[in-house]
Subunit: 110 residues, 2 copies
DNA sequence: TGATTAGGCAACTTTTTGGTTGCATATTAG
DNA sequence: CTAATATGCAACCAAAAAGTTGCCTAATCA
């Protein structure tokens, strides 16, 4: 009851280095066009376009049409949601980890 | 200079729902065997074994041999590292986002 | 208007990934 | 020792993902 589908798109989107790089670029300068985001990437424009579509579907990037151009904006909200909901859980458990390890090693009935 | 290869394994490992589920199971009870982790999952033992291997390669799971059994322990450290190093960056940028959006929309020389 | 610029769509190829089956190995119980 | 248990290894398969090429459409500039 914690990963019922919505977060999955975000995790998947973040899995690819090229897409993380695109997010980094938008973080450095927001509102770039597709062409600007392509510059210097060893990839065709269409490949970048697909990556951006995936990021957009995951709600990590919002777009805005301006004439013949399409501006791309970073939306860090889903990342924060994951950090709060999902990573927080493991952080809380982190302190217990070593204790658990010891307890399990000792108490294992073999 | 932030994603130079090590974090990539972690991102990739977290991309699959089945692997996140395995982490959740270890979070609920640490030190389980492969067989125990398989129980109730609509997957063969070998499939689970592969997932665990990926998690282990990403350093998210540590294993310990105990006779013919293999115990699996959750290691939340890489998750925390990512949260601190990578997600933190976007969180810092979040406040600026709307301001950036407005600025870009107005100042765009077309 | 004609040429150029920015981007979209769709088919296709290649790689990667998730999963399976079958067999092998090692430890433990009787 | 023999049987059962717990896991490992390797080949194979299918589906998804990443990337390409080719063509099309819509704005803008000269």
């Amino acid at each position: 009851m914690q990963d019922e589908g919505a977060d999955d798109d975000v995790f998947r989107a973040l899995a690819d280095p090229a897409r993380r790089q695109l997010l980094d670029r938008l973080h450095a300068q927001d509102g770039q066009t597709l062409g600007a985001l392509c510059a210097g990437l060893a990839m065709t424009r269409q490949a970048v376009s697909k990556h951006l579509a995936i990021l957009e579907a995951a709600n990590l990037v919002a777009t805005l049409r301006d004439g013949r151009r399409k501006l791309h904006f970073l939306n860090p909200m889903p990342i924060q949601s994951i950090a709060d909901r999902w990573i927080g859980k493991y952080r809380r458990g982190a302190v217990r980890a070593l204790a658990d390890l010891k307890r399990n090693l000792e108490g294992e009935g073999r």
